[in-house]
Each structure stands twice: as C-alpha cells, then as structure tokens.
C-alpha cells in the first residue's frame, strides 16, 4: 500500500496511527486483560491507583475497576465514533453525489435540506434526538450521524460539480458509458480523497459527541463509556480526581490521535498526484 507508506512518512500520521492502533488493540483485548463485566463491583470502593496490583488504576465510588472501564470505554468510543462517522460519510456521499450529478431542482432541494442540518448545532440535534427516541447504541450512532452528514454532503457535491466537467467524464460519455456507471466509476473515486480526509475529523467529533451524550446520561447505561465515567467521578472530584482525569485523558489522547492521523492522511492524499 503506497498510501500507508506515504502516511508513515509524515510524523503526525505515524503518531496518530500508533495511538489509534494502541487504542484498537486495547479495545479488542479488553476481555482478555480485564475479564468479566466492567460495570461489576470488583473491590473496595475508591481504591486509589497503584495501590492494589489486581486493580492497577483503582476503583470508583461503587468499587468498579477503573482500568476495565477505560478499556471497555475505548471499545464504545471507537465503535460508536467510527460507526457514526461511517454512516454520516455514506449519507453525505450519497446526497452530495445525487445533488451534484442531478443538478437543477433536485440539487436545490437537497442543498436546502443540508442547510437545515448545518444551521442546527449537531450536538443539540443529537441530544434532542436521543432524548425523544430513547437511549440505545444504534440510536446514539444515528443521532451523531444526523448532526455531521451535512459537511461531507456539501464537500462531495462541490467535488462532483467540478469533476463532472472534466474531459475524462466527457470521454466516458463518448464511449457510451451509462450515467450511473460514470458516477460510480469515473467521478466517485476522484471525489473521494478530500472527503476521506474529512472523515477522520468527523470520527473525532463523533467520539466527543458520544462522550458528551454519555456524560449527560444519554449513553447506553449498560456499556462502560468514558463520558459516563467522567460524570461519575465529578461528584468526588476533590477527593478522587483520578476518576474523572483518567477517562478525560483517554478521551483527549483518542481525539488527538484521530486528528494527527487525519492530518497525516490529508498530507499523504495531497501527494497522491506526484509521480515520485
């Protein structure tokens, strides 16, 4: 993979990739490192970190293992973040392609819908959506996607508008290609790189929104999430700050990793045209 090579040539891409890989491994290996339900009572309450070898990061107010919470929280954060970003991207790509390719009234109508979603703050939209429909992971994913699909839609449309006028699209038309084939074979692959670069930023935003929703108690209560851990720790912030600080740090590192990865990806994709 040349893209991976180019990504690893940029320092931010390398660091981002390492952070994300570490998080992914932590999430995947969570059941092996901390077997059992991460929300069960594992020991004495409010055990401070590094005091008990079997509970290395201590316990919270109810005696739940903080390390287990962090590991399983990584799972939730990444899964919800990536799923939400993926659905937002797919929806955005589809709408943007349709608008840019169809043009005319369809374009106008779709873009006004995009406008409507862009002027409502994404977080408020997600908040309203989850509190009305009820809390479950798919709903949270959909709610976050609802607030973020407009940007990729707009970017895709702009790309399609520019690319559909290129000569190679005209060339595809003079060999008798079907418009749908032109859209998916000629235009989409060329429209993708900038949208792909945007995707990482969307993942970061989605992870933060998920954490914020959980912080407000609108995350899935049966899952360990960093947002709910921060919220739990808030009441004992003075005596046991680590309960809020540790998941907060995990969140910050994750978002940083995603952003660095996105930065590297943008630079790697920017060099795509070079014949080096």
């Amino acid at each position: 993979m040349t893209l991976l090579k180019r990504l690893l040539r940029t320092p931010e891409g390398t660091i981002g990739l390492v952070i994300l890989a570490a998080l992914l491994i932590a999430g995947l290996l969570a059941p092996a490192i901390s077997p059992g339900d991460p929300l069960r009572i594992a020991g004495r309450a409010l055990l401070s970190p590094f005091s008990d070898p079997s509970l290395p990061l201590g316990t919270d107010r109810l005696g739940r293992d903080v390390l287990a919470g962090l590991l399983y929280g990584a799972r939730t954060s990444l899964a919800v973040g990536i799923a939400a970003a993926l659905s937002a991207m797919l929806l955005g790509l589809f709408v943007g392609m349709a608008a840019g390719f169809a043009g005319g009234a369809i374009d106008e109508a779709l873009m006004r819908v995009v406008d409507a979603f862009q002027i409502v703050p994404g977080f408020l939209l997600a908040l309203a959506f989850v509190s009305i429909i009820g809390v479950s992971t798919p709903v949270v994913v959909f709610a976050i996607a609802l607030g973020t699909w407009a940007d990729p839609a707009r970017l895709t449309r702009a790309q399609v508008l520019s690319i559909r006028e290129r000569d190679y699209v005209a060339a595809a038309r003079v060999i008798g290609m079907h418009p749908a084939e032109i859209a998916f074979k000629e235009i989409l692959p060329n429209a993708l790189p900038p949208v792909l670069a945007l995707s990482a930023t969307i993942v970061a935003g989605a992870i933060l929104t998920e954490a914020a929703l959980s912080f407000l108690g609108l995350g899935n209560p049966n899952l360990a999430t960093w947002g709910s851990m921060i919220a739990e720790g808030r009441s004992v912030l003075r005596s046991a700050a680590y309960l809020s600080v540790l998941p907060g740090l995990a969140l910050a590192i994750t978002v940083l990793g995603v952003h660095l990865f996105s930065e590297g990806l943008t630079r790697a994709l920017g060099h795509e045209g070079d014949s080096r």
């Binding site: 290129r166 000569d167 190679y168 005209a170 060339a171 595809a172 038309r173 003079v174 060999i175 008798g176 290609m177 074979k185 000629e186 692959p189 060329n190 045209g273 014949s275």
Partner: protein
C-alpha cells in the same frame, strides 16, 4: 455519388445569447479525411462536440444532423471515437491505462475483461506505446504527454469506429510530438479505412495529410473544398489571410509542398 457518412444541415448552436455556430451545412464523406480549421472561438470545437453529443445542457441546437451511412443515430464509442485536446485531463487519473482502453473494447465488442485486456494490449502496441504490457498497468500520470495522447487514441479506436473525431488532438503537445501523432492518426485511418474529422487551428499541420478542409470563422463555414484547391486558390479572403499568416511561420515547408 454515395450518400454522405454524416450530413449537417442548417446547424446553429447558441450558448445563451451567443451564437457558436450559425447555419452550417457540411457533409462528411465516408472514408475521407476532413480538417475543420479555424481560430479560437470559430465554432470548430462546438461542431465536434455537437456531432459527439457532448454539448452542455444549456446549449440550444437548431438544424439537423443525419447519419445516412448508419441509418440511425450513432452509438458513442462504437460508431465514432473522440480524441480530446489535452490528454492530461481526458484520461481518468485513478484508473490504469489498461482498464480505460479495455473498457471501450469490452463494452462495444462484447468481450469479457480478459479478452478486452488482450485486445487493449494489442491496441497499445499499434499506437506504438513502448512496452505495452507494462503500460497497461501504469496510471496516466506515469506517461508522457505524447504517450497519453497515444493511449487516448487507442481508446478511441478500440471499438473500431467508422469515424474518428480528433478535437485539437495535437494542440497540447510540442511540435515534434505533434508530427508523430499526426503520422499515427494518418496511418491508423488509412489502415482501418476510417473517416477522420481533424479539428485544428493549424492549417499547415492539417494540410499535410487531409483530403478536404473546411474553414470556420466566427461560427460560420467560410469555405470548404479539396485541400489543394483551397490552399492554392482560396475563394475567400479570410482563408487567404489564414494561409498567408502561416507562410511566415516556421511551418513554411509544409505549405509550399502542397502549393507547388
């Protein structure tokens, strides 16, 4: 006289208020090599794009184009091939050369992908791409401008069309490569018995190998006729001026050769 391959009657094309072509009448005879000559904005590319059905949606077309030799509207790709001006933009940057040439063959010759690839490799060899097997796997940016135009020509002739439209196909290339591409087009058209519509601003370049020229100015057909008679005794002062202008340039030998 056999029916013309393509017959253009009273064709007008306008973009908004601006007329790009004004009531043009022109016949394209089967097997001929016809050059459409004109300056920028003379409507020559509009004519080519109208024939190929490539005009923008906002363009308004009047008059009629018939294809007596085909008896029906032409199928793009199968009945005509189109070569664009800039091979840097007419090839898709994310598809390999092989895919783009094979696509045409697969679509119109009803080949499966494997056969189409074999066919495409043969075509690349015919347009004299060095190491065709390697070029098949290359992306457009890995080839030079002249090679890219050869690939574009290979794609245009992949389905053995009866008509090849070359819209300023040599204008984005340097003089040496221009001559090579013209030689290639000339050879291919002769071998295949194709009809060639060669659109250019360069009267000297075209007059070296075409049978007939049609001179356009500001959307109107100024004059059309066999290349020798038009060049030696132009009926219109504009054509004479166009030829005179070219005599002063470095292309002198080509002109004198035809005139003498």
């Amino acid at each position: 006289m056999s029916p013309p391959f393509c017959s253009v009657r009273n064709l007008s094309v306008r973009y908004g208020l601006e007329a790009a072509l004004k009531s043009v009448d022109l016949d394209i005879v089967r097997g001929e090599r016809l050059a459409i000559i004109g300056e920028s904005g003379s409507g020559k590319s509009t004519l080519a794009r109208t024939l190929a059905g490539l005009l923008a949606e906002r363009a308004r077309i009047e008059g009629e184009i018939t294809w007596p030799a085909l008896g029906q509207a032409p199928l793009p790709g199968r009945d005509f091939g189109f070569v664009f001006q800039d091979p840097g933009t007419s090839l898709n940057p994310v598809l390999t050369i092989g895919e783009q040439v094979a696509e045409v063959a697969r679509r119109h010759l009803r080949l499966d992908w494997r056969q189409a690839y074999v066919h495409a490799e043969g075509l690349l060899d015919r347009v004299r791409i060095p190491q065709p097997a390697r070029a098949m796997r290359a992306f457009p940016h890995q080839l030079s401008g002249g090679q890219r135009q050869r690939v574009a020509i290979a794609a245009a002739i992949a389905a053995k069309p009866a008509l090849l439209i070359a819209d300023e196909a040599t204008s984005a290339l340097d003089v040496v490569v221009q001559a090579e591409i013209v030689r290639l087009l000339d050879g291919l058209v002769r071998e295949e018995g194709m009809t060639l519509l060669f659109i250019t601003h360069d009267i000297a370049l075209a007059s070296g190998f075409v049978d007939r020229v049609a001179v356009f100015r500001k959307g109107e057909l100024v004059e059309a006729g066999p290349v020798r008679s038009v060049l030696s005794s132009p009926a219109e002062s504009y054509t004479a001026a166009l030829i005179a202008n070219h005599r002063d340039l470095s292309t002198k030998p080509l002109i004198t050769e035809v005139v003498s």
